[in-house]
Amino acid sequence: MTTLTHPGDTATAESLLPSAAPLQLIDQDGHSGGYHGELTIPGPAVLRSLHRHMVLGRRFDTQATALTKQGRLAVYPSSRGQDACQVGAVLALRDQDWLFPTYRDSVAVLTRGVPAEETLTLLRGDWHCGYDPYEYRVAPQCTPLATNTVHAVGLAHAARLKKQDAVALVLLGDGATSEGDTHEALNFAAVWKAPVVFLVQNNGYAISVPLAKQTAAPTLAAKGIGYGVPAMLIDGNDAAAVYAAVGASVERAAAGDGPTLIEALTYRIEAHTNADDATRYRASEEVSTWLGRDPIARLEAHLRARHLLDDAAAGRLAADAERLADDLRQRMNQDVNPDPAELFEHVYTHPTAALERERAALRAELRELAELTTEPAS
């Protein structure tokens, strides 16, 4: 009879488990401390940068929500409350690394350097993705849940095969951990030792469904052990902890030690999107509680206590944020006239003969329509 052996005996099961309590570097009141395991607090420059990008990102986010009310965006899924995850994770990446965001990660995309207007192309509705993924190393924002996890694994595995020093960071939510692709991605990443970091922003809800109806696992991070993937549970409203955890995971992946699963505990302050009514499934007291755990206020208190931020600097930053919002508003208030002929351009690398015929027919239809509307009234 064949003896079955299991691989992976070098890593004891316990070493893969997350801590019982979420790792934290700065507590709710802005003090250093809490249970931080191996994480070390970033230096002043990084802390200031985290704060700056969170303030800018928050202003972008509230402006985008306002633009939906004016009909300038088709829809906007806000990440307000998840600011520390959005910013901390992205700033921990190196230039050569890749980000695989979802539709809720517009602030992460913005933080990676994609211009605000290009970030919002999808949600404005003039195309599905407004930026060149290769320019920023940001994959298109993914709408079907968890499907981006396997793309990240593939890109990372290719990097390994090509001996590139690049890591892929994939963002997903608590709901996405129930999807089959998350399971497949964690398994592939572990078997291939692919340089991938999985960051689960556990914001408590998948649209309306709370975590208790999503999983019976003790934590989402606890799922890592099933794949042989080491996991961390962190305070997702602590930007320093997110930065440190993702940074350590990127370093580990780049060193050839494989993937890491991070669960960041946070909260979605707004409804799923502007089209959703969150009062149907959660109490306002719960939202109030989390408003009191604001990630920006926490880091700001910390910076001020350490004299790393004063009123003058905060004022300059607020002015920068207003400028970003003004600029975005102006750009978004301009009407867009996407060219319908472009519908046929990118279906294949070269339009097929059949698509060329359809394009010609559409052009003829538009010409006819234009002639009708410009005919002088008799």
Binding site: D132, P133, V150, H151, G154, A158, E184, H346
Partner: protein, 344 residues
């Protein structure tokens, strides 16, 4: 590499025509693509050490190493999804779905991402991924091993869908598919894996999106692809006895559709029959019939007919012969093409 160590330029080895099975031709196409382009990687379930359940990848892992030809865990969605990520990072993945019906877990990755990312990114991201899928019946397979799933893929803009009918064309089409910058669903008619043809294997010849006339004729155009090409050719030979001169067209490319070759033939013959194993209802043949009717109506002497599988789930092995198109059914369809005035 220094100039001194550069390999001498040698002309490509010319292989004399030898009898070759479709499985062997596909194997050689993969080997030649791996040798020609270092970006090509081949992976899937059992494709490494075993060489694939149909042995199409036999010997490739040993020859090219496990970084280029490798086994994956058993998860089709991740096979296609990771191929997308690899292609984003400059590789040319050629993946295998073990059987037609086992590709369904990858359906979301194929239809929502592989087919659309080029369009989604306004052409910035190109995904030269080939998905090889052994398809169709006729091998006595138990449930889930004999589906004809082509219509699912041809209904998805952004995918190319091809199906070879002969060993030489299997080689050519696979080489062309791997070189093609668009994603290609490559449907291999598993009932023809072991049929042999004496041929020179070359990527040259008709391009990836062209149909070919396998047998010229004047009375009726018989349209087939994949496993039904050989059946159609048999029917055409049998039709000689009935005095019908049948032209057989091997579509090769199901999407895009080669309107030029097809309309030229149907306008000339005035009659057409399309054959496929898949169920007829909303099947691929419906599109062919509609398209050719639109383009050839005034040349047609009779309605375009379809000879297809029954509108049933794929039957168990002892019953599949009642489901699959055969020469008799094709000849019956040809007989119904209103040859006499009073037939109309």
């Amino acid at each position: 590499m220094t100039v001194a160590s550069a390999p001498a330029v040698v002309p490509p080895r010319v292989r004399p025509p030898t009898p070759v099975s479709m499985a062997a031709a596909l194997n050689r196409a993969l080997a030649d693509s791996l040798a020609a382009d270092e970006r090509v990687v081949v992976f899937g379930e059992d494709v490494g050490t075993l060489g694939g359940v149909f042995r199409v990848t036999d010997g490739l892992a040993a020859r090219f190493g496990e970084d280029r030809v490798f086994d994956t865990p058993l998860a089709e969605s991740a096979i296609v999804g990771s191929a997308i990520g690899m292609a984003m990072n400059g590789l040319v993945p050629v993946v295998e779905m073990q059987f037609d019906a086992f590709a369904y877990p990858a359906f979301e990755q194929i239809t929502s991402h592989l087919a659309k990312i080029h369009n989604r990114t306004r052409g910035k991201v190109v995904l030269p991924v080939v998905i090889r899928i052994p398809f169709g019946g006729g091998i006595g397979g138990v449930e889930h091993h004999s589906d004809s799933s082509e219509a699912y893929y041809t209904h998805t803009p952004g995918l190319r869908v091809v199906a070879p009918g002969t060993p030489a064309d299997a080689y050519r089409l696979l080489r062309q598919a791997i070189e093609c910058p668009d994603p290609v669903i490559f449907l291999e008619p598993k009932r023809r894996y072991w049929s042999k043809e004496t041929a020179v294997l070359t990527p040259d010849g008709p391009p990836i999106d062209r149909a070919v006339v396998r047998r010229p004729g004047t009375d009726v155009t018989l349209i087939a692809y994949g496993g039904m090409v050989a059946t159609a050719l048999e029917a055409a030979e049998a039709a000689v006895e009935e005095d019908w001169d049948v032209e057989v067209i091997d579509l090769r490319s199901l999407s895009p559709f080669d309107d030029v070759t097809l309309t030229e033939s149907v306008r000339r013959t005035g009659r057409a029959v399309i054959v496929h194993e898949a169920p007829g209802f909303a099947g691929y043949g419906a599109e062919v019939a509609a398209r050719l009717t639109e383009q050839c109506f005034h040349y047609l002497q009779a309605p375009i007919l379809r000879v297809t599988g029954l509108d049933i789930p794929y039957p168990p092995p002892h019953l599949e012969r009642f489901h699959l198109p055969n020469t008799d059914r094709i000849l019956d369809a040809i007989a119904r093409l209103q040859w006499e005035e009073d037939d109309a």
